[in-house]
């Protein structure tokens, strides 16, 4: 471990759930003892060999890890610059990186003696992953999903029901992801003794940003080793999309201490930052306190949380995880806006060039890679985190191109 990495870890440890000025535990008193207990239990189990053996077994044999690091040769040649590698989280069971965190948290919940898990979901990916692991481990599962999202993603609602979960359409507020988080927190505050909240991203009150990051860090733990095996040296750049930021945090984590590796997070710029219709928190957000954490948020002049927009439901969140806000603040990671148009073009490009239909979220990272690779030399390399597969997005992309197909 490098000196830089040690300094980062120490700073976080010393400040109890703080990443610089970001993070913290801004929740109602009702939840405080449960969060303290969660932290204690997590700190115990993360060092417990039996827990880790069970976790690794599930990740490998059930979720299909390690995921491949694929050298995208055609794309590399076509862009004519850096060597491009794709970290294939899309090949995991349930089709995205979300399963890494769900296996970890549901297993932890079970060890803690919980019998029921609840979760928020936007497009439904995290809900499906939670319902999947709950089915496997024999836990009761209830998922909160904005009513508008339920209507847009009927297939995922049915998928969760097939897996034995109960889906609650959230009718409060703006009826999307942030409202689903609100409702799941309310539900949790009403019933903590038998219930664990499987938060889906590196956000929320401490210890969630740390727990989710640790469970997602398997992505960069593998990728770092895989690229060293493939080319004998570290990549120059690592690119990932960022909503709350869980795949990006997992993809960045083990590279943070490698000072020569550029870390780039791609935010959803929707119709463009200047239109106000976007979800680009770093580009256009400001410091605030929301969903249990101090971080950057899209908000108005009075601190009311704004409605955000992206073609990608998975990036359609008005905040960003506190560790990302901090990596941005200290200049260790760079965050760039990518528009709907750019993401859709990248989605189509990857399908045609490499025969991979990736999630529209991941396509934001692909779009940025298309801009960067040609400016780099052929002895340089980059890894793109392909966080999910794109089956779920096909109908929406067709609609975007003016073609009506029913899903």
């Amino acid at each position: 471990m490098s000196r830089l990495k040690r300094r980062f870890d120490k700073e976080v440890e010393m400040s109890r759930g703080r990443f610089g000025k970001f993070g913290g535990q801004y929740v109602p008193e009702t939840l405080m003892n449960e969060l303290i207990r969660l932290e204690e239990q997590y700190n115990f189990y993360k060092n417990d060999p039996a827990f880790n053996a069970e976790l690794t077994k599930l990740l490998n044999e059930y979720a299909g890890r390690p995921s491949r690091l694929y050298y995208a040769e055609k794309m590399t040649k076509d862009l004519g610059g850096a060597k491009i590698y794709l970290k294939r989280e899309d090949l995991n069971h349930t089709g995205a990186h979300k399963i890494n965190n769900c296996i970890g948290q549901v297993l932890l919940a079970k060890k803690m003696g919980k019998t029921r898990v609840i979760a928020e979901t936007g497009a439904g990916q995290h809900g499906v992953a939670t319902a999947t692991v709950a089915a496997l481990l024999g836990m009761e599962c209830e998922v909160f999903m904005g009513k508008l999202d339920c209507e847009r993603q009927r297939l995922n609602v049915y998928r969760m029901e097939l897996l034995g979960a109960k889906v609650h359409p959230v009718e409060s507020g703006t009826q999307v992801l942030k409202d689903a988080v609100n409702e799941t927190m309310r539900e949790w505050a009403g019933r903590v003794d038998d219930t664990h909240y499987v938060l889906g991203s590196v956000m929320g009150p401490h210890p969630f940003p740390t727990i989710v990051r640790d469970f997602q860090a398997v992505i960069s733990r593998e990728a770092r080793q895989q690229i060293l095996e493939a080319q004998g040296k570290l990549p120059d750049t690592v690119v990932a999309c960022v909503g709350g930021g869980s795949n990006a945090m997992g993809m960045f984590y083990h590279f943070i201490g490698d000072e020569g590796v550029k870390l780039i997070g791609c935010e959803a710029a929707g119709h463009g930052i200047e239109t106000g219709e976007h979800a680009a928190t770093i580009a256009d957000g400001s410091l605030g306190v929301f969903h249990g954490m101090k971080s950057l948020f899209c908000q108005n002049e009075y601190g009311q949380i704004k409605e955000v927009y992206s073609i990608s439901a998975g990036l359609d969140y008005p905040g960003i995880g506190p560790e990302h806000a901090w990596l941005h603040d200290i200049g260790r990671a760079e965050y760039v806006p990518v528009t709907d148009d750019e993401a859709v073009e990248a989605f189509e490009y990857l399908a045609r060039t490499e025969g991979i239909i990736c999630a529209i979220e991941s396509a934001h990272a692909v779009a940025q890679a298309r801009k960067l690779a040609p400016q780099m030399s052929s002895d340089q390399s980059m890894i793109i985190c392909l966080s999910g597969r794109g089956d779920k997005d096909v109908a929406a992309i067709a609609r975007y191109r003016g073609i009506q197909i029913s899903d």
Binding site: P28, S172, A189, I305
Partner: protein, 258 residues
């Protein structure tokens, strides 16, 4: 000079009434606060609406959205309190989520509180561990950051109560605000734990809506807090809610006197 939180608890069991500022508009809020004072309320909690109130049940959530939709802002709420202060010296506190306060700027926010005689603030998403955010700045302007104790607080009660200012807000039930037919928490043992470390007043809120509940709970604490039941009257009668609120508060306060 506005009266203090202490004054609110000086005349027997206190009736603390909550109302969302700006629902359905700020002129109505101003009128309803005066009605509640006239009906015997000892302390008014003025809710600063927030887009995402995670500790609220559906009644107050909807009130917040109505208030924001009617154009309510933190500045306009301060202006309303300023007008109110021409007419009453009754003790007033705010209830609001941290982000609007943080975003307004702590120094600026609490300076304005001091100017218009707001003597405390309840911030549901600011637990004991995070109160260093603004407690000192608030105190410098004579504003108490009011601490909450929940049914799950257990071993935390001691620390929270021993540093409490103004009064202690004891949350009666798990979950969010809203009318409940039954309150199952063992409040007496929570109150006993509080009394071991502090003698500042302790008021119970969440779920209380009938005079019978209020009387029963007030027997073991210093006051009761009622929110959703009042906000529900506003939701039902809109700008015509004055007499209904007056009547409701009068009955509730009556139950505390007997």
């Amino acid at each position: 000079m506005a009266r203090s939180i202490k004054d609110a608890f000086a005349g027997g069991k206190a009736f603390i009434a909550f109302i969302t500022a700006g629902d359905p508009n700020l002129a109505a809020t101003e009128e309803y606060i005066l009605e509640m004072e006239r009906a015997g309320a000892d302390l008014i909690e003025i809710g600063i609406p927030f887009s995402d109130p995670i500790a609220e049940g559906v009644v107050i959530q909807e009130a917040d959205l109505r208030a924001l939709k009617s154009g309510t802002t933190t500045d306009k709420i301060f202006d309303m309190v300023g007008r109110l202060r021409q007419k009453t010296d009754m003790p007033l506190v705010f209830m609001g989520y941290l982000n609007p306060v943080f975003h307004y700027g702590y120094e600026r926010f609490f300076t304005r509180c001091e100017e218009c005689g707001i003597s405390g603030i309840i911030i549901p998403d600011l637990p004991y561990e995070e109160k260093g955010e603004c407690e000192a700045i608030a105190a410098a302007h004579g504003v108490d950051v009011i601490s909450m104790i929940a049914p799950t607080s257990e071993s935390r009660i001691r620390a929270i109560a021993s540093e409490a200012r103004g009064f202690l807000y004891v949350v009666s039930s798990m979950g969010v605000t809203g009318v409940r037919s039954e309150i199952k928490t063992d409040l007496a043992s929570i109150l006993t734990a509080i009394r071991k470390v502090t003698d500042i007043p302790a008021a119970v809120g969440f779920g209380i809506n009938t005079p019978e509940q209020a009387a029963k709970i007030a027997a073991i604490c210093d006051g009761v807090i009622v929110g959703s039941a009042i906000v529900r009257i506003v939701a039902q009668y809109g700008t015509e809610a004055g007499p209904h609120i007056y009547e409701y508060v009068r009955r509730m306060k009556g139950a505390l006197r007997s």
